[in-house]
Amino acid sequence: MIKNKLKVYRAMHELTQSQLAEKVGITRQTIIAIENYKYNPSLELAFKLARLFNVAIEDIFNYEDEK
């Protein structure tokens, strides 16, 4: 399972879900789905998010073994 800290980074940069969605070219629903671990973004989108927040992908997304 892939978990993420998107909400944390979004809050750090004082962005709303709509603002973040607009910046990376997706819908607000996709941001909501990612933050609730309901949807795993593509590699391209993950890179865009990491670049936007100026961090590495691993800082936002991490993979956990399902037990």
């Binding site: 709509s18 969605a21 607009e22 070219g25 997706i26 819908t27 996709t30 949807y39 989108l45």
Partner: protein, 137 residues
């Protein structure tokens, strides 16, 4: 500017829902009045209009929307193709030699199912080549 994409998507979705409802009403009325041509025309025009509106509004589908649509199409195919084939086969089997119209309907449904499976196979072959995986080391 910030909410443009969301507003556009909502507007297009509402318009699309309205158009689809109108199309459904026209098709029902056409079929009740035995007018197949108007139902086909309204379907084609409605779909073209929806496509045109989406292109002009600039509302875009993101990767999650595309994934949802792909999965919905896949499930629709997985459910309806065997169902149509099975129903067509059964109708053909039980109507054979007795009810000509139902026999034709059964055969038509079976051919539709066969066409769907063939089209699916062709698309799988094409997409497999497009997304690699066939190259030798």
């Amino acid at each position: 500017m910030l909410y443009n994409t969301t507003m556009k998507n909502k507007y297009v979705n509402n318009l699309r829902f309205g158009l689809m409802t109108l199309m459904a009403v026209i098709i029902c009325i056409s079929l009740i009045n035995n007018n197949i041509l108007s139902s086909i025309l309204s379907t084609i025009l409605g779909m073209a209009l929806i496509r045109f509106l989406r292109a002009k509004s600039g509302a875009e589908l993101d990767e999650r929307d595309n994934l949802i649509r792909e999965k919905a199409a896949q499930w629709t195919l997985a459910v309806f193709t065997p169902a149509i084939g099975l129903v067509g086969f059964l109708v053909f089997l039980f109507a054979r030699g007795k009810l000509l119209l139902w026999e034709q309907i059964g055969a038509t449904l079976a051919y539709i199912s066969f066409f769907q499976i063939s089209a699916y196979s062709i698309f799988i072959f094409y997409l497999n080549r497009k997304f690699g995986g066939n190259d030798k080391e």
